[in-house]
């Protein structure tokens, strides 16, 4: 059994709480949230304890690991404190919106000999994983082009946009990670375009809602990413890996497999799943299992702190390219 604490009992925290409670290898010992009623609700549902503060949790030597699902601005502090307290850490993405703070955090935890895993859940989705496995097994031969399409069902509220860090660091960061995951090589250049096509309020806040990015590796392999904050047909999450001997694709998901034929249309399917919690349920479970295994065995996690850092570096490069209109050379130092 891995004894765990959950920091953050908002929407995604509650989802994690359900998975923690259902996991036979986990003993969910504490829940903490700055907004205590939220923590209480989770604690009651899963018959666990509301922690008065983070310190109490970290001081409890019997706690093996923490899951950080609190707001982004708390991540660095919680990762640092938890890792220094010897707890394994599974932290929701992004590590932080500021690469300088991420780098400080990296240094601060450099000597902590604990698993620190970043919550790029999509890597654990059965379909994305099957694509990854097929690519690694050589099914497409040498990878030459990756095309990722990533569109949310609808734009978040302005309050969210304000603290999000912008589309590239908030939304496309998942796609940067999937691109790195599928390419299994580092991108060395990024060029980006972005526009406000969906919601003028997003533009008023200095962000974009529609974006495309081109990236290239040192060996010339290429990647396109396309994001939009709104797709009326649902949560559009596709990835295509093309290579010298074929192509594999990760297809969308629908809540049911019904097919309709009428006088005006044939083979029509229902709109895509609503959003990430409906699209990636198995991924969150698999992510947790993988983390628990890393925490229990001491092995390196499948998604490292450095993976979180590099995705942010690509997002920053995209932002810079958007500003400058130039291709940005990427350094991971």
């Amino acid at each position: 059994m891995v004894k765990m604490a959950l920091f953050g009992a908002g929407r995604i925290g509650r989802m994690h709480a359900d998975n923690l409670a259902a996991n036979p290898k986990v003993d969910l010992a504490y829940v903490y949230d700055v907004y205590e009623p939220a923590a209480k609700e989770v604690a009651e549902r899963h018959r666990t304890i509301v922690a008065a503060d983070v310190e109490t949790v970290l001081a409890d030597a019997s706690v093996d690991a923490v899951l950080i699902a609190s707001s982004t601005d708390t991540h660095v502090e919680l990762i640092t404190a938890s890792a220094q307290a010897g707890k394994a850490v599974l932290c929701e993405k992004p590590i932080d919106l500021d690469i300088a703070r991420v780098n400080q955090c990296r240094e601060a935890i450099a000597d902590c000999n604990v698993a620190v895993q970043i919550g790029f859940n999509r890597r654990f989705d059965p379909t994305h994983r099957a694509v990854y496995d097929a690519v690694r097994a050589g099914e497409v031969g040498k990878v030459e082009q990756i095309i990722i399409t990533s569109r949310d069902p609808g734009p978040p509220p302005a309050a969210y946009i304000k603290v999000s860090g912008g589309l590239y660091r908030d939304m496309m960061i998942h796609d940067f990670d999937i691109a790195r995951f599928l390419m299994a090589d580092e991108f060395v250049s990024v060029s980006a375009i972005g526009s406000v096509l969906v919601d003028p309020e997003i533009g008023a806040l200095g962000d974009v809602d529609s974006a495309m990015v081109l990236m290239q590796t040192a060996s010339g392999a290429q990647c396109q990413i396309c994001c939009s904050r709104r797709a009326v047909y649902g949560y559009d999450q596709r990835a295509e890996v093309f290579g010298s001997s074929g192509m594999v694709r990760s297809d969308n998901r629908r809540p049911s497999g019904i097919i309709r034929d009428t006088a005006t249309t044939t083979d029509a399917r229902v709109p895509l799943t609503n959003f990430f919690i409906d699209r990636y349920p198995e991924a969150y479970v698999a992510e947790l299992n993988d983390f628990i295994d890393a925490a229990a065995t001491g092995r390196v996690p499948s998604v490292t702190f450095e993976d979180g850092r590099r995705a942010l570096i690509l997002a920053d490069a995209a932002n810079e390219s958007l500003r400058s209109g130039a291709v940005v050379q990427v350094s991971y130092d």
Copy 2:
């Protein structure tokens, strides 16, 4: 909370036990199996009590409902005893292989004012349900033709075949139920063909492994069912409802949405899910929720004892048609 007992801790019983344990509205109070170690394993996993015998369970007035997942030959006795003890009953299909015994059971429980639901789980599958909803909403107009394809990934062992009641009563009974469910009308004639094409041992036991059936309602609406005990590409479960203004279909399910393109093939998907436990996980959960609601509120269950009885009557008619080579007129009296 609905306090429940589980009778039967075999493969399907264990699956139900997981769903019972995970259901926040259920208190799983007892597990019973003639083979005590099986009951013990489930009891330990879900921290509940192994019942020494059925009587103990039924005598416990605090038990509201039972789930019967034991072998088919015990169903009638357990349904009768449980219903007479005032427990709501969810019983795996079939009620029994002998329509005479089913009729006796019907009589025996006629005055028990409890919910008795038969485990035709497929009615609760999101896709079959979406097809049903679309048909009921009039999307295909007047229903004219239903085509059901139902193929298992591989034949069961001889030991299973021996006690199964034969393909029509064991396997196609699900399809008879889905046909009735989607047609929302009764079939009045059945003609059947059947052959041994997959496994000669099945033939040696007097059963068939490949079968087709035609059925018609009084108003002339038509249905085809096609079954095979072995499909190398996985568990093939399709239903098509065709009518005056269109068609809706229930498509197969795959463990992942990966799509492959190679030099020899394009748009290739992975084989279908392995078998019913992988194909219908949501259906078993939804079935349980629906039953709990019926048990708690006293309403008529969504799948009644009579539904179980009528599916068996159709299976018997198919057997008779297979023997006689003639169309069989069906009576539900």
Copy 3:
């Protein structure tokens, strides 16, 4: 060059005339139709001669072959006269609606050493042919079950129904042929159901508009056919061949490959092609090429007179089963 005459300049005759004219191996020498203006129109379009009567054509020793696209009641007479005049014959299906007349025709042409091919065009469709080739190449292993769905976009006028010979001999005869073609074995039993669900006028004329048939070979291989005179989503023509090592299917065809995603639907395609002339254009060309090759080389045609006769025997058996409500044993003597 094969010098040919066309008998019949109606809708399907005109389509054949276009193919004959465009075929570099054919010299279209004559067109004949009982309704002379129809023949004239074709003759003008393709700069050929209107024949005053059939005899003139058959008396012209330079004519190698005839294509019979006139009304069904003229087929036997034209096949007989043409074959006896030493012309190769490509005759639209069916040979005749009366098996006795077909048998007489068979006898009458038994000693004519010419190619006589029946116009089961679907055998030449690239997709049906690919399915056939895959099956013959052993891709599905031993064939166990065939499912054919065949629905016209809309019912024909009453005038057509009156002389059609009924759904089984007029419409399902194509499906009987495709079933024999794909099975590559003979069916020995037939049972049929049929109803009037689409158009009461069809019922008033003693015909059905919705029909299903079960057939079996001596070795127990099975076949389902499902027909309807009306599918609002277009011309629905599917065939599925299932066997010990897999399944191959012949899919429908659409006039364009556009895919739509909206707020209410995803992956929607356009309705199917309108009807046989739009669905099977390559098939008619390939059929003609195949016939020309048989006519030129003297080899046995790919679709023989006997194929036409046997499809009719199956249609008659279906009619008999519909009347009697019993399974009909088929004899091809």
Copy 4:
């Protein structure tokens, strides 16, 4: 009847010759090719005349229109001479590889009151056209993002690459045109990446074989194009138009609709059509019909000289971006 001459009897010229010969509104009067045997072969096949030289053709006042399918370096001269001779012109893409020569040609024919159409055949493909029509009909709302994937089945020989003008001007020029066609707005910026991933010989010739481009309109609408010189699964030609109320896509084409299910794969389709002549047969016919209509009525062609010029300007911008690594602002002056 439109009396026409064909310049160029190579592979694509022969295909056009077939379409010209089969078109009831066209009288194919002359064929010319610098390599006379090629012209002779076409002339014999279609019973027309081999022109001794271009001048003879243009001097024949009865010739209404010319189809230019000769090598790219002859296009400008032939367009100019033909238009100045008062002939309507359908010229294969590209107009020329040198924008300066294109601009001179534009000037030279400015006062010729004849239809000059550029052979962007894909605009006439039923599927691309259906996508266009859907977009114009407002089905996707405001167009926000276009994604075009365009991969040839295999790289051309070095001899072809040498004179091709490079991937952007030779291959992606079709995609620039389709992007403009579907967007119905002008792109104002282009950034490009390109690599040699397929064939080092292409790199040795100074060209790339794998390329991606980002473009934006003045209003911020976005476009991605992805090209490769080799897709082992066939000729991959997809376009996706995404907007405020949905998405429409142009799907690939296969030579047959067969679907396969085996122990290792399900729903597998055959590889895509081989190349443009197999992929776009209807498009070439429709293009010709459209041109004949423009030539006969004097209306502006559907694909103008200016369309050909602007696609080249975008290709040049992509080349410049590839060289400079910067986003290139596009001017169409």
